[in-house]
Amino acid sequence: MKNTKIISIAFTILLFASTSIFSQEATGLQIVENVYNRAAGDDMTSDLTMTLINSSGKERVRTIKQFSRDFGDIEKKIMFFVKPADVKNTSFMTWGYDEEGKDDDQWIYLPALKKTKRISSDSKSDYFMGSDFTYDDLGDRHPTQDTHIILREELLNGESCYVVESTPKDEDYMYSKTITWIIKDKWIGLKKDFYDEDEDLLKTLTVEKYEEIKGFLIINHTEMKNVQKDHKTTMELKNIKIDTGISKSKFSERMMTRGI
């Protein structure tokens, strides 16, 4: 379902990309939808290294092996924690739904307890493994949850970008607004500023590196800096494999408990 959407949107983009009409008529929502729907293959395997760096430069490293697959109206993801040692063999599974308003299903397997626990996806403002990324930052926030306006167009790191301000429709959302620099025609958010409830800058996400793998643009190195706490987290993806045909059974309790 999502791929069909992606193909039709990509085709539409191809039709209009060579003219200036699109940029004149594009709305903030369309631009963010293009980012949301950017094709990334049906499945992906990668090794994620997350480095947490505090204000004095002390580093903590988390390593995760992750698998994801798009099943059309459901996107499933499973993560196996490799490091640090005290969380080794812990696994985390998410089923995310395209259906608007339907919450993700999430489970965590705790090897010491030998138990798979369902957890609420409502805690999206929780930080993931002590990093500067919340669960919501890591997920695909649906474009219709925010109101988007194009502030301007400008160059960032030599890339021509739309600068889009997104304001949540839900007043209780953890950010008052975000401002994203989106590369034209590539539909990659190159930089994103997150503002807190007092509308002060809280965090900045920057894409350090992206590359083309099997014809898809894949972001493989990002940094999230919390400017208020002077704490940052880098995320680096390695050994990325796209469309290898990950089995449906990979996203199950059986695999959560068995491990990598």
């Binding site: 947490l52 505090n54 903590r60 490293v61 490091k83 640090p84 040692a85 005290d86 080794k88 089923w95 919450d103 299903d105 489970w107 010491a112 307890l113 030998k114 138990k115 798979t116 626990k117 369902r118 957890i119 609420s120 996806s121 409502d122 805690s123 929780d126 930080y127 493994m129 002590g130 990093s131 500067d132 704490h231 059974s249 199950s252 309790e253 059986r254 068995r258 491990g259 990598i260």
Partner: protein, 412 residues
């Protein structure tokens, strides 16, 4: 000889490394000091080495998990928590060997989680993976999508293990006079007809996770049959004969989300549990009754604090007044709650936790505040207290065992 042994161990270890066998585990220093009764005794001065040795292949795996405890009397205790092999097939898995098996959705209480018995050498204070005893047997899992059918066969019965009678965690038996114990029937012979069998069907779905289970097992706690024998002075001595009896149960559990709440429930119906009666002279001092044990609970987050609460009840069916009250079954209805609050700060380097059991019948509680600090990725420091309130009941009986403790854990 010693050198040869060392060389053999080195060679064995090296060959394991060469085959990319995975080693992990922890080293832990654990010190606990009593606060109750005006004493400041160090009741725990313990070093622990926990080693996980595991190796996975495409269609099989093995894990061996020895643990060594060293305490201040310089004694060494060796425990093999698990030692098993896995065989993986397309739609089913087989695990054979000594293994811990955990069922159910309840935290900190054992309702359908009865396959692995408990080691209560320090009551309920150790981590739950240390409380559970690995059981020797085979586990077969058959999968259809996210549905699992599980059969567990245990040819060797392992009972609950209690604290040494000299330990501060020893349970004092209550009898009208000092009894004589006859342990001739306490052992369950290892044979096919004495096996335990457990069945479970579980599913993990978009809306709800659930388990339905049944078991034909031995009661992990022995029934205390009483009889009388001449004491040689013209009087009679009470003789207590502990004996494990067969018990069966059927139950289930579920977990689902309702907005920001996780709702959990678990229930089991136990058939034919023997309860002791107040009069040891009648019917060998026991009576057989069914009972229900269930829990309802919820997990949620409020002000960035994770909360978890559970209500647990036991109901003895066709209750009779002759049933002797115990800390576990005081009355027809036994009611308990658990409470957990956990708050993480400084990017999850510091956790503040409060866990508590409260028993309504005896008005007793166990309150466990704890602070956990990640000194580094490998080293975790813990400081906490175990506070017992009340004077009787499961927790009140340890009223003099209030303690503070510290742990240093190096994980590798």
């Amino acid at each position: 000889m010693k050198n040869i042994l060392l060389i053999m161990i080195f060679a064995f270890t090296y060959s394991l490394f060469a085959q990319s066998v995975d080693f992990s585990g922890y080293v832990r220093n654990y010190s606990g000091m009593l606060l109750g009764n005006g004493s400041n005794d160090f009741v725990i001065l313990q070093n622990t080495f926990n080693l996980n040795i595991e190796k996975s292949f495409d269609n099989s795996a093995f894990q061996v998990n020895p643990m060594i405890y060293h305490d201040y009397s310089d004694s060494l205790t060796f425990r093999l928590r698990e030692a098993y092999m896995d065989l993986y097939f397309d739609n089913f898995d087989l695990r054979v060997g000594k293994q811990q098996i955990v069922w159910g959705k309840a935290d900190g209480v054992f309702i359908t989680d009865i396959v692995s018995p408990k080691d209560l050498f320090q009551f309920l204070l150790p981590e739950f993976d240390e409380i559970r005893i690995g059981v020797e047997g085979a586990k077969f899992d058959y999968y259809i999508g996210n549905n699992t059918f599980e059969i567990v066969w245990l040819p060797v019965f392992a009972p609950t293990e209690y604290a040494d009678p000299n330990s501060v965690w020893a349970v004092t038996p209550t009898f009208p006079t000092t009894p004589t114990f006859d342990y001739s029937k306490v052992r369950v012979q290892t044979s096919l007809e004495n096996s335990e069998v457990f069945l479970k069907y579980s599913a993990l779905t978009e809306y709800v996770d659930f388990e339905i289970m049944g078991g034909y097992m031995w009661d992990d706690d022995p029934t205390m049959f009483s009889s009388f024998a001449p004491d040689g002075t013209g009087g009679m001595n009470i003789v207590i004969t502990p004996e494990h009896k067969r018990i069966s149960l059927a139950g289930g559990s579920f977990s689902t989300t309702l907005g920001p709440l996780v709702l959990r429930g678990e229930s089991a119906y136990y058939f034919g549990k023997y309860f002791n009666t107040s009069n040891p002279a009648v019917n060998q001092g026991v009576i057989e009754k069914d009972y229900i044990h269930y829990m309802i609970g919820t997990d949620f987050n409020l002000f960035d604090i994770n909360f978890s609460m559970q209500f647990i009840q036991k109901v003895i069916m066709n209750y009779e007044e002759v049933i002797k009250p115990t800390p576990l079954f005081n009355d027809e209805f036994s009611n308990m709650i658990t409470f957990l609050a956990r708050y993480s700060i400084f990017n999850e380097t510091l956790d503040l936790e409060l866990f508590s059991y409260y028993d309504f019948e005896f008005d007793d509680a166990l309150i466990r505040p704890r602070m956990l600090y990640d000194f580094s990725d490998s080293i975790n420091l813990q400081f906490g207290a175990n506070l017992f309130t009340g004077t009787e009941g499961m927790f009140g009986q340890y009223d003099k065992n209030d303690m503070i403790y510290g742990k240093i854990i190096y994980s590798f």
